[in-house]
């Protein structure tokens, strides 16, 4: 009878401590929840624009975690500020807290989109990706094209954001500086950041 009581107390102790030790599984659920993926893609809650991301970084959005899924070499070369490097094979072995907002990006966006699906299959639903990747970041944040006759407030906002990250906007599609020139010829300079 003492053995049984001991077993019962042991089970109660292990069970009652369980809520306070966090989730035991890296993967919170198995399989792809295709409906919710389709819904997220449909309503666009699967991605975030480079400019929106820039605002999040500037505003120090709580729980923001930016992940560069490219190789360490590429990451070393140039990356979005405050990002961490987690190549795809390491990504699936990492843990993500539920209160984090995970932003994935790659060079052009395709790998980030694939990484997004992989995270979804692991039950990580709080992830988004940057569709245009680092290329978009350069084009929209670092050297954005200012609308020639847009509202001044909008222009000021873009300029301010660009300057925050050490970039310089281009005006009205006209060439301005070497960055814009490089962008026009389709060869984006690699070493540009803040």
């Amino acid at each position: 009878m003492r053995l049984v009581r001991g077993l019962g107390i042991g089970a109660l102790a292990l069970g009652l401590v369980a809520p306070f030790v966090g989730s035991p599984s890296r993967t919170q659920q198995r399989g792809l929840d295709l409906d919710s993926i389709a819904r997220a893609i449909d309503e666009g809650s699967d991605h975030v624009s480079a400019r929106q991301l820039a605002e999040w970084i500037r505003d120090r959005r709580p729980g923001l975690r930016i992940i560069d899924v490219r190789s360490p070499d590429e990451f070393h070369d140039d990356a979005i500020p405050t990002a961490e490097n987690l190549p795809i094979d390491q990504l699936v072995r990492s843990r993500f807290a539920p209160d984090q907002t995970i932003v994935l990006y790659s060079q052009e966006g395709a790998h980030a989109g694939q990484a997004w699906v992989m995270l979804r299959s692991l039950g990580v639903t709080q992830a988004v990706f940057v569709p245009g990747g680092l290329a978009d970041w350069r084009e929209e944040v670092l050297s954005p094209l200012l609308p020639a006759n847009g509202p001044p407030a909008e222009r000021a906002r873009i300029v301010e954001l660009s300057h925050y990250f050490g970039g310089s906007p281009r005006i009205g599609g006209e060439q301005e500086g070497e960055v814009a020139g490089a962008a026009q010829t389709g060869q984006r300079s690699r070493r540009r950041g803040c």
Binding site: G8, A11, L12, L14, G15, P19, P24, S25, Q29
Partner: protein, 179 residues
């Protein structure tokens, strides 16, 4: 081959444990439904608690990945009806599929009768399958777990199940002590 060795080993341990607990004894199993003998509940709840806590803590300590384990898929109606039919059969034969083998192995003829019936039962379903397939596949919910259903964290569900199971066992112990 290695896989089958594991299967055999696990099976031997499984059969051993069932036999030791007395679950190869039809009157004992049926006694559960007349509240005469609580062995079935005691063994089942203890085993489930052990495995549930083991999976949770094993996962927490990094010894296994609970997310990689196969969670049986939920099909609401087929499982509800299946459970009702199964319960009826359970009280009629006083055995379940696993324990019928144990009963036979410990020399009870009822075990063989139940095994034969089980065989006929699955055969029947297999033969009639084209007709019952729509029902078989109805109300699918995928690998639905209680934590996903309730939206509670895994640990909280584990704690709730533990409290319910341990209090049930404590209630049984108290009831038996009183008699």
């Amino acid at each position: 081959m290695n896989d089958l060795l594991i299967a055999g080993g696990i099976g031997i341990a499984f059969g051993w444990a069932l036999e030791c607990a007395g679950l190869g004894d039809p009157p004992k199993l049926a006694g559960q439904f007349y509240l005469r003998d609580f062995t079935v509940l005691k063994v089942m709840l203890s085993a489930m608690l052990t495995a549930m806590l083991g999976v949770f803590w094993g996962g927490r300590l990094g010894m296994l990945d609970p997310g990689a384990l196969y969670v049986p898929e939920t099909y609401l109606l087929p499982q509800l009806v299946g459970g009702l039919v199964f319960g009826l059969g359970f009280v009629l034969s006083g055995l379940c599929p696993g324990t019928s083998c144990v009963a036979l192995a410990s020399g009870r003829v009822e075990g063989a009768a139940t095994m034969l019936g089980l065989f006929a039962g699955v055969l029947l379903v297999g033969l009639a399958f084209p007709r019952i397939e729509p029902f078989y596949r109805s109300t699918p919910h995928g690998p639905l777990t209680l934590q996903r259903l309730t939206g509670l964290p895994y640990g909280v569900v584990v704690a709730l199940v533990t409290v319910v199971a341990v209090s049930t066992l404590a209630w049984i112990a108290k009831r038996e002590a009183a008699q």
